[in-house]
């Protein structure tokens, strides 16, 4: 494969103050020595619970914060050596989508203003082509321009807001989107729609995607590779199918065991199996470990 779009080498981010004498002080490593590559057209999922450092990692990949040590590179070029034009290129090629669309859209801007600002700033449209571009963009995220172009964010539902945030990210024809929990603030049926939208966009545009999520169901549906984070470290990484199908790490296993299934029959089987395991364990005097493999048998 060619050069990855983004690569991180041994990046560390610590928060808190370091001791004056060079010791660790009360500094905590939110991200602790992580390596990763994101290739063109690939979806990499970063999984972990809150506090595992996945959002901090995303912010470093976006260049919003600098790693304490280590290096993030865009097509092999380290961010530390970026000039202003490099940053402009990078900001255009790598776009964020955040969890809460309401707070990532300007409440005082209409939908068309939000999108035209981006298009004009990056010279992707002229005054003449602007309207057509906006119509097309909105169509690509499944919204009718005639109906939505003059709305303000508060006049949109959560799902519509997230579609606008996606349209804004897509406006600059990025190579990579970094999405931090893009679904978790949405209703379930809307989650399914946005998930399908992301899947269709990434396949139709050869878009790279870094998806931060604590929801394994979403990760399962969309990603090619997955990284599982726990307390700032990568505890497991590999192709999604392999990691979720045959997890090697205990934490990954517990995440899988906690995955809900939309099937009462299956849920019941799992419960019965777990009750049996608990009963057996208490009989033999051991602590029971909930295990997804065992639970489904």
């Amino acid at each position: 494969m060619s050069t990855p779009i983004l690569s991180a080498r041994s990046i560390i981010k610590s928060f808190g103050r370091r001791s004056w004498f060079g010791g660790a002080g009360n500094a905590r490593r939110a991200v602790d020595t992580i390596d990763l590559d994101v290739n063109e057209g690939e979806t990499l999922a970063i999984v972990g619970e809150s506090g595992s450092g996945k959002s901090t990692l995303a912010r470093m990949l976006l260049g919003l914060i600098k790693p304490t040590s280590g290096e993030v590179a865009y097509y092999g070029q380290p961010m530390d050596a970026f000039t202003a034009p490099d940053w402009a290129t990078f900001r255009k090629a790598v776009q964020p989508i955040f969890q809460d669309p309401a707070s990532s859209l300007n409440p005082r801007m209409r939908v068309d203003t939000t999108l035209s600002n981006v298009l004009l700033r990056h010279r992707l449209a002229t005054r003449d082509t602007l309207a057509a571009e906006i119509t097309e963009l909105l169509a690509s995220v499944g919204l009718d321009a005639a109906q939505f172009h003059d709305r303000y964010p508060h006049q949109l539902s959560g799902g519509q807001q997230q579609r606008i945030a996606i349209a804004r990210a897509m406006a600059v024809r990025p190579r990579l989107i970094i999405a931090d929990e893009p679904l978790s603030s949405l209703d379930m049926s809307v989650q399914a729609q946005i998930l399908d939208l992301l899947i269709s966009l990434k396949s139709s545009r050869n878009l790279g995607l870094v998806l931060i999520s604590h929801d394994l169901n979403v990760v399962d549906a969309i990603s090619d590779r997955v990284i599982v984070m726990y307390l700032g470290k990568v505890v497991e990484a590999g192709p999604t199918r392999q990691v979720l199908g045959n997890p090697a790490n205990d934490y990954t296993r517990s995440l899988l065991a906690a995955k809900l299934v939309a099937d009462p029959h299956l849920a019941r089987e799992r419960r019965l199996a777990m009750d049996a395991a608990v009963a057996a364990a208490s009989k033999s005097g051991q602590t029971p470990t909930p295990d997804v493999q065992g639970a489904s048998q």
Binding site: G158, D187, A192, D220, R241, G245, L260
Partner: protein, 279 residues
């Protein structure tokens, strides 16, 4: 686990309407709902945001804000007594002694940030005679929700607890009056997957071991599948389908229910888990 309804329902709603006044318009948040919860049963109300499920839950526990209500009609009966018509003192007694408790979505906003957990639990245990009894019962309640390190947790402030611990502390507080029914509005939405699962298991255990009836309000059909016996699907203030959990998932009668299920299956699909999840 699904109980066949024997005897009268513990909590029942008949033709409940809650119409709210929003910017001079009337919003029919709940529009003619019938619903029953039998002793020991776990009932789910599912719907998307704006379907009126939370308003229904609040009407049934009489926790609606008074100001915005344009119409509140119908009857909600707890053990035969009309909750909506009750005098405030009777309602308070019902919450404190005979057992109707609530748990909400965001645990942090329901805990007092300036008080340690022991003080907040003690407030829910004011009916107990002396301090020793309160301490003992507090520890017992925390253990019931799976928080075993009670001595330490009781001395902590809410901000020192994780999200899952906070929610379990709130459930413990809700259990203090020894309720017969627990109404939980999106009890796990703010939580991580593993923590969500722990809280669901805690609720399930309470349902089973204490025969505690539950009314779970959620948008997550995965949670319904995990926990509930009976399910009501709500859309636009009305119940569009009601069935036991197996019937609802196996053969939904309503198109909206079917679309919710399709979305949930899309999100809860089990394909990669192949060996682990397909029986």
């Amino acid at each position: 686990m699904s109980l066949s309804p024997a005897g009268p329902p513990l909590l029942s709603a008949r033709d409940v309407k809650v119409h709210l006044r929003v910017h001079r318009r009337i919003v029919k948040a709940v529009d003619g709902v019938d619903l029953d919860v039998y002793p020991g049963q776990c009932v789910g109300i599912v719907g998307e945001s704006g379907s009126g499920k939370s308003t229904l839950g609040r009407a049934m526990t009489r926790l609606l804000p008074n100001v915005e209500i344009a119409e509140l009609s119908g009857s909600v009966r707890f053990c035969g007594d009309d909750v909506l018509a009750m005098a405030p003192e009777t309602m308070r007694a019902l919450r404190r002694h005979r057992g109707l408790s609530m748990v909400f979505q965001d645990p942090l906003s329901y805990l007092n940030p300036t008080l340690r957990i022991d003080r907040q639990l003690a407030e829910a245990l004011r009916h107990l005679a002396d301090r020793r009894a309160v301490q003992q019962k507090s520890a017992e309640l925390l253990q019931q929700v799976g928080l075993d390190d009670t001595a330490r947790i009781l001395r902590l402030y809410p901000h020192e607890l994780s999200g899952g611990m906070r929610q379990r502390v709130l459930i413990a507080m809700a259990l203090a009056p020894d309720p017969q029914i627990l109404v939980a509005d999106e009890p796990t939405t703010a939580l991580d997957a593993t923590v969500q699962y722990q809280v669901i298991q805690t609720l399930r255990r309470l349902n089973k071991e204490r025969n505690l009836a539950m009314l779970i309000i959620t948008h997550d059909l995965g949670m319904v599948a995990e926990l509930c016996d009976q399910v009501y699907v709500m859309q636009g203030g009305k119940i569009v389908e009601a069935a036991d959990v197996f019937t609802l998932f196996d053969a939904p009668q309503n198109a909206y229910t079917a679309s919710l299920l399709a979305a949930a299956r899309r999100l809860h699909q089990t394909k990669v888990l192949g060996s682990a999840a397909t029986p």
